[in-house]
Amino acid sequence: MAQVPMILLTDLCKNYAMGDTVVHALLNVNCAIVKGDFIAVMGASGSGKSTLMNILGCLDVPSGGTYMLDGEEVQRFSPNNLAALRNRKMGFVFQAFNLLPRTTALENVELPLMYNKSVPAGLLRKKALEALAWVDLEKRAFHFSNQLSGGQQQRVAIARAIVNDPVILLADEPTGNLDSAMCVEIMALFQRLNRNGITVIMVTHEPDIAQYATRKITFRDGCIISDEQVPSRRNAELELASRRTDPNDEAHP
């Protein structure tokens, strides 16, 4: 790991006041993430993994410590600069998909482009369609989000996350609401993105989903208790290919 880390967390803390008691959601977290990592963040609920994701995604600010992203101290950014950072450098994928209701898939994907002033208005649709094509959903571009299946919704969300060419993809339990067949498809997309150089950080509590990552960080009570390389990494695309040849596999038990 001679590489300069893209993300460097030093003594990162996040406290919540719950009445009179202070809850330490994160306690002195130290971590370095290099460009091109595919990290699975694991842990029981309440262990601090979601809090970490929110801070990494600049949706929340830490109570203490530093968060360096590409050599800049993110906690010093103004809310407007944080918004710009989320827009240009990050893509979000949520467990509940979080697409805008009663809005077409295309418009959902256009959304980050609308807030990106460097993209000319005329290119919005073209770029959004390209992103949708990448997740193999261009035929569904004009369907409303509620007319799509869960897996399709999540793919639209991935298209929305990558449309601004981010450097980091943050996924908070992306497969939590999906069946296992869909999970593999989503993981295949993630692994492809990761091969293209995008750093993927994914929260999950399913150990077999974590097997698609390259590195596994486990949290307990706001602290990192283990940080290890994934020994026998699964390849989602190979699994998909084998499933196609054998239709009676786990997709249709």
Binding site: L59, D60, A84, R86, F92, L99, L100, P112, M114
Partner: protein, 406 residues
């Protein structure tokens, strides 16, 4: 974020709740329509009053005796000084801007003709009185200077008198009426004039020679007031100053203070009436403004509901890079679209309503450009004012709180 897409999003989100948006807009529509209609009606009333005042003869000057107020002590009008025919002689001699001048002796008496009787005011004045007032004869003729000199018992009567003593449509010329048991011959009937700006019936009047009324009916040696007309409307101020000068000069010898009379012109009366109708318009407009504000509160209310409902959407937008200002603008534009659309419909409805009033009431109702601009800018101002708080509330949400909102 580009303005066109903001506008598109705003219109779409309003479309999603059509009924709600329409009801919210209805508040604005009623408010703006009320402003437009009230201003139009007020303006129409003002125009009508002005027209009536102009019909009174705007170059008329009235001289009343006695200061109405003197150092806080109010005297009985007419008690401090007595205007008389010598004043008229002086005015006629030394005031070139005055065309006609006449003393007026006024008394209210029971008038009888046959078995009918009627109480009305009798104005004693020179035969020029009709020229001063610019009143026309419908039938018969005016009395003459000879009647004046001889204090003859002749008179000219208005339409109301004809109706009450002889019956409508009767030719009263040549008939005799009795005032305090003195027989007066009716030589002329005035044409109908209707009510004046103050609501007085201008046809309920008897005009007789000054000397007759003064000596034979009232038994006084002075005049209750003087009336004069300027050579033209532009000469009114000139005439007022000349009369003031002449009367003051005349009084310096005999009475001490010299200014115990008041000159009023129709312009003064017109101004007073104008003031009254202006006050009325302001009153109407303020009532209309209240409904506008209520409409604005409706917008604010619905926008607050909308912000709460769409907290998650705000969170998603923020997560993909919307700044606080983008969110602020989005909700502000939404409020503005509602208030503007409401404003435009309101202007149309208000104009339509004004036309309806003018048709039904027969008033000259005028929808002015000013009131349209006012309605327009009011709806914009209300959109911004009442849209700001909910929009601010949406913009100041923390991304993580908005995203987690259930």
């Amino acid at each position: 974020m580009r303005f066109r897409s903001i506008l598109k999003i705003a219109i779409r989100s309003l479309n999603r709740n059509k009924m709600r948006s329409f009801l919210t807009m209805l508040g604005m529509i009623i408010g703006v329509a009320a402003v437009i209609a009230m201003l139009a009606v007020g303006q129409g009333a003002r125009d009508m009053i002005n027209a009536q005042i102009a019909a009174l003869g705007t170059n008329v000057l009235l001289v009343f005796p006695g200061a109405f107020t003197s150092g806080g002590v109010r005297m009985e009008a007419g008690s401090s000084s007595r205007l008389n025919e010598d004043d008229i002689a002086t005015i006629k001699k030394s005031c070139p801007a005055v065309m006609y001048a006449s003393p007026v002796a006024r008394t209210t008496q029971q008038v009888k003709a046959g078995n009918q009787n009627w109480r009305t005011s009798i104005n004693g004045a020179y035969s020029e009185y009709l020229d001063i007032r610019d009143w026309d004869m419908q039938e018969g003729v005016n009395y003459t200077d000879a009647d004046e000199r001889g204090a003859n018992k002749v008179c000219v009567i208005g339409q109301t008198i004809v109706e009450n003593l002889f019956g409508a449509g009767t030719n009263a010329v040549g008939q005799t009426i009795r005032i305090r048991n003195l027989p007066f011959k009716v030589v002329g009937v005035l044409s109908e004039k209707g009510q004046n700006a103050m609501g007085q019936d201008q046809d309920d009047i008897i005009i007789a020679p000054f000397s007759t009324v003064q000596k034979k009916l009232m038994g006084i040696s002075y005049a209750n007031s003087l009336v004069a007309s300027a050579t033209s409307e532009t000469q009114i101020e000139e005439a007022r100053q000349e009369i003031n000068q002449a009367l003051t000069d005349r009084r310096r010898g005999s009475s001490g203070d010299g200014t115990d009379f008041t000159i009023r012109t129709q312009t003064d009366i017109g101004n007073a009436a104008e003031q009254t109708s202006k006050t009325l318009s302001i009153l109407l407009a303020s009532i209309a403004c209240v409904s506008l504000i209520v409409g604005g509160i409706g917008i604010m209310n619905i926008m607050l509901v909308s912000v709460t409902e769409r907290t998650r959407e705000i969170g998603i937008r923020m997560a993909v890079g919307a700044r606080g200002n983008d969110v602020l603008l989005q909700f502000l534009v939404e409020a503005l679209v509602m208030s503007f659309t409401g404003g435009i419909i309101g202007i149309a409805a208000g104009a339509g309503f004004s036309v309806l009033i003018s048709k039904v009431q027969g008033w000259p109702v005028t929808v002015s450009v000013f009131s349209v601009l006012l309605g327009f800018s009011f709806s914009a101002a209300i959109g911004i004012f009442f849209g700001w708080y909910p929009a601010r509330k949406a913009a100041s949400l923390k991304p993580i709180d908005a995203l987690r909102y259930e």
